[in-house]
């Protein structure tokens, strides 16, 4: 009996196609994670569960250094970017109108669409032109720039939904503009700020292209280290580090998403 097709999910093969789509998206990741727990070096033959590779990377001081570098860069860049993004969002939404306000709003977001390689080369050229050599500082400065729009988006979205009359109520009840910011605006904005900070954090931790351009010798971050290891061939250690990086990313993004949803 022919089924009546009322909506897209009634189309023949819809279920199969959906499975195929998700397999396409996630099969490589699943394989990476599964083989990070493989007992032998093989990346194709499963020979039993083991945490060997995790133990190995835990004992590797170079990996630890790279991880610490990544974390230092991410935390510093996130802190600076979040403060700037919060100030920018407040100025754009609550500030007085000024000439070119719309354009400014767009300019804050453009780093999101500028091809990363272009930003990377431009940053490299600038840094070498002015002779900037601050070790991890170079990477932090470069990361702040692209972290700002990521932090800005959720903060701006939160501010968009916030009723301005709540802040007026604080002013009406004898709070100065600064007291209003501290006691009402920032506490209400907090979920957006945290969410923005987490997005910035994850963007910084994951960044490769810009980091590779501006990193000085010795200032190796985790993605750079993984890339370096790959040149010596695929190894289960890479699977293990990547799995950890993946887990951290998923956790942070989930947290950010939950915070954005909360009212």
């Amino acid at each position: 009996m022919a089924r009546t097709i009322r909506k897209v999910t009634d189309l023949p093969g819809f279920r199969g196609f959906t499975w195929l789509f998700f397999a396409y998206l996630y099969a490589p990741l699943v394989l990476l994670v599964v083989f990070s727990f493989n007992a032998t070096r093989s990346g194709t033959v499963w020979s039993g569960f083991s945490l060997t590779w995790y133990a190995k990377i835990a004992a590797d001081s170079q990996i630890q250094r790279a991880a610490l570098n990544s974390l230092t860069v991410a935390v510093c860049a996130t802190a600076i970017a979040t403060v700037v993004a919060t100030a920018a969002a407040l100025a754009m939404k609550r500030g007085v109108p000024f000439f070119g306000k719309k354009v400014t709003g767009g300019l804050i977001m453009t780093p999101l669409v500028v091809p990363e390689i272009v930003t990377a080369v431009a940053t490299l050229l600038l840094f070498s032109a002015i002779g900037l050599s601050l070790g991890l500082g170079n990477i932090i400065l470069a990361h702040v720039a692209f972290c700002i729009p990521f932090a800005y988006l959720p903060i701006r979205a939160r501010l968009e939904r916030m009723d301005e009359s709540i802040e007026l109520a604080a002013r009406d009840l004898y709070a100065t503009p600064w007291q209003t910011l501290r006691t009402v605006t920032l506490p209400l904005l907090a979920p957006g700020i945290v969410s923005g900070a987490l997005l910035a954090l994850i963007t910084s931790i994951d960044d490769f292209i810009i980091t590779m351009m501006v990193a000085e010798p010795g200032a190796t971050t985790l993605p750079l280290y993984i890339y370096g290891m790959l040149r010596l061939g695929v190894s289960p250690e890479i699977n293990a580090i990547s799995t950890i990086l993946l887990a951290v990313s998923v956790m942070v993004v989930t947290l950010s998403h939950l915070l954005t949803r909360r009212r």
Binding site: D163, R171, D172, Y174
Partner: protein
Amino acid sequence: MPQAVEIIDVVKKYGSFTALHNVTLDIRPNEFFTLLGPSGCGKTTLLRIIAGFEDITGGTLKLFGNDITALPPDRRPINTVFQHYSLFPHMTVAENVAFGLRRLKMPDAEITRRVAEMLEMIKLSSHAGRRPHQLSGGQQQRVALARALAPRPKVLLLDEPLSALDLKLRQAMRMELKTLQQQTGVTFIFVTHDQEEALAMSDRIAVLSEGRVQQIDAPQVIYEHPATRFVADFIGDANFLTAGVEQLEDGRAHCALPGGYRLIARDAGAARPGQRVSLFLRPEKLSVHDGPVEDGIGMTVRTIVYQGDATDYVVELDGGITLRSRCENRINGDPILTAGERGFLRIAPDAAKTLLD
């Protein structure tokens, strides 16, 4: 004794749009004063100007004799109840009420005492630890009132505070607000577009239209003696007729209507014989009868609208004039006449009022 609030020649422009045209009005101490008008008339703008949320383009604002034109909102002893309450969602009920007191650097013991007293007043003492979202609309409304009254402001501003409540609660809150104003002795400035609300609660009403004050008077005066056609039309129901003035006598105009009718209208004011004027009649001053009555005018009923406590009749006089009459349903809701039937219309003495456009 100076006036509570003096608004002197206040002008507010947004770019080329003028929201308020040279508004001048005085609000007396301990008064329940209402700013009434349709949306866009400038009433909320005026309230925000008094609160200090908006700068003015020109004019002066005085509070009990002191010029407050240049003061920011946090330095004006005036508090506001916002239309959607605008409670601080991240604070408890008690913290909300204490907010203004803390900013005024009151001693902690005094704050605790004052908050308890305010919560007692709004009968929400048991909800002190709740967050605003755990309260009903009516309860949030009362917290907003307590929060605004706690610092004992010289003037309380209320921006359509009842508009978000359902009908029954709105009617109950009208009484509560009026009682609260009398108990506290605070000057209330109330903004609304609801004429019933304004008539029920106010000591005086200012009717605004398109940024201009149309009339400032007690509710009965506004209703019975509207100064302009706008006020007559905006407050309550009204019949408007165009008539020619034949002669004047004791401030009354003897007018001629189309179809040969004659009507004596009060408040002739500046009307002159030979001039054409608008006459205004409240529907409840016209009564419908199924038999001949003294001064009755022959007519035919065109439409009947049952309103519960009253019935509205649209009637056509033999001369072609159409009028609306409202008759109270004192005994039962059965209509006196049905559509198409002939009867008599009686216009109460002094029902008609002259209006100069």
